[in-house]
Symmetry: C2
Subunit: 344 residues, 2 copies
């Protein structure tokens, strides 16, 4: 398990295509000393590689003839585009040739191929996306960030177990504070799924469940893992990506409205730059799909090289720490509870 991680990169994915993905992957491979398999149209990948200095970087080109279009349905891609870069990349994991997949392409297709080609960890009901949000203190894991729209209570329960394992290994939190996102802190507040999931968490083993969290707790930094269904998770993650930039634009409008404040703002420019870096989602690059026999990292379509490097770093840490093993153990330890809830 602890050999050098091998990562399959969907070289064709992303709004900017191989021209951004290939250099990003090569840079990440060099910095982090991992091996990358560049999956996609070989001539295009080669022509991008020709522009780079490749000394000592371990890489391979794995050809894939088809490219996924953004308007296609995930189910169609899964059924019909057998030689698309995302399918080929997922099969590399399935066949043991790679430890994980990274794609900035069609996120629905990436999730579908991850689940149906790589397959789930036995016992995991629904793989889920774990997004990261900056907070006033440490980064927060939001799970599920959009893979599962309609959830049952035991799905919410397993999301927390997976998020817990992930936060321990990736962020090094010794005992992550796991909370259910709801509309009141007290037990008994929330919709029917949340109320039932609360009961499961109370009985769960090896998880530091701290109860319900509210919307206002998301950015405070007092929670480490926030559990919600993929509908709510997708909305809050997209909202928080949008809000930092909207607020900055609103603030800037005020800051540039007079000579003195304008001068003051110019003096404080480095601070604004540092702040923008903190809230920039490229810092994390996207969200991993947890619960697979491997890992599948779904990057933003707009990912740049920095986002790609960060994605590679997270996936490499995940592989090196054996996070899937930790996750599997936690799922098995709490299997009775899951089964009990499913039978209700």
């Amino acid at each position: 398990m602890n050999a050098k991680p091998i990562l399959a990169i969907d070289a064709m994915g992303g709004d900017f295509g191989p021209g951004v993905i290939v250099p990003g992957a090569i840079q990440a491979a060099r910095e982090l000393k991992v091996k990358v398999l560049l999956v996609g149209d070989a001539p295009q990948v080669e022509s991008e590689l020709a522009k780079l200095s490749l000394g000592k970087v371990e890489y391979e080109i794995v050809p894939a003839s088809e490219v996924v279009q953004m308007h296609e349905k995930p189910s169609d891609i899964l059924r019909r585009k057998k030689d698309s870069s995302i399918q080929v990349a997922c099969r590399l994991v399935k066949d043991g040739a790679a430890d994980g997949v990274i794609s900035a392409g069609h996120s629905g297709a990436t999730v579908a191929c991850g689940i149906f080609i790589i397959g789930r960890i036995p016992g995991v009901e629904r793989p889920a996306l774990a997004a990261f949000l900056p907070t006033e203190k440490n980064p927060l894991v939001v799970i599920d960030a959009g893979a599962n729209v309609d959830c049952r209570p035991y799905h919410l329960f397993q999301f927390g177990l997976m998020g817990d394992a992930f936060a321990r290994d990736i962020f090094g939190y010794p005992s992550p504070r796991v909370a259910l996102l709801s509309i009141g802190e007290e037990e008994g507040k929330g919709n029917s799924q949340v109320k039932e999931a609360y009961e499961l968490y109370k009985m769960a083993e090896h998880v530091n469940f701290i109860g319900n969290a509210e919307g206002r707790d998301i950015f405070s930094g007092d929670v480490d893992v926030i559990v919600c269904d993929g509908f709510v998770g997708n909305i809050i993650v997209k909202m928080s990506e949008g809000v930092a930039f909207s607020l900055m634009r609103m603030l800037k409008r005020e800051l540039f409205s007079g000579f003195v404040t304008k001068f003051g703002t110019w003096l404080s420019k480095p601070a604004f730059k540092r702040f923008t870096n903190t809230v920039d989602y490229a810092e994390y690059g996207g969200a991993p799909l947890l619960g697979l026999q491997g890992i599948c990292f779904v990057c933003h379509g707009k990912s740049n090289s920095r986002a790609m490097t960060n994605a590679v770093k997270i996936v490499a840490t995940f592989v090196e720490k054996g996070t899937n093993e930790r996750m599997r153990e936690s799922i098995i330890t709490n299997e009775e509870l899951t089964r009990f809830s499913r039978a209700l």
Copy 2:
């Protein structure tokens, strides 16, 4: 309808009690030339009034002997505390002695008393809370902000009709852009309730439905009314209250980390102050419960006099414009659609 509005104020509600509510209500009555009925413990209300100059302000004290505690259940308050200030205030509307209620007390109790004492507009399935969020452009109405946790598609449909009427009258939007909050802009994205509600909106009359909105659209100002269930709505409203202040704290940490930036920040101070005012929720004071035969404004517990003045202003405008009549017409015009969806 267009006589001077009479508003029943729950003088006992709010974290700071009559000491803040009474002066806030009197100030609002003076500024906005409305009549206020101060409902609560008469000696306490009188002692607060004694501290104020009351010339020309129209007010009355309406005694109520019981006070609601924050830990009590709404259903218990409704059943047992018949002489609580919130119940007495709602009965004033029911009996035609007041046009609306404003309370900064127990929000669950305020919603319950509003629905069961004041009663619904015929045809309205579920009254809903309409919160306001600052955006980059004009304020946004979020409905439902927390009154209904588990919703059916036709509830989401009626929320939009009510939010539309409200945005027209209160914010003066000639044709408010109404959107369903979902996880993708395309039709067919979302959970099962949203997908079905989408169908209803497409067939609806007299509403400018612009499709789905995503989390990132909330602060852009390109939507006027965002429709969601009360679970999601409560989370996003609380999240946006929290996020502005969290981001400001994060930014300040950067701004105060060196002498030059510190000096620059000091120069830009007025701009920060204006920005903080824009994102401060006291600007709006809380959320009205729409769909009642009257109106019930649920203020934040921490409401100050400014929040109280704003609440009075919104309720007075609501009464003067006859917004309930507009809402009733829209509900009736689209009644067949609601009935059709309910029968599914």
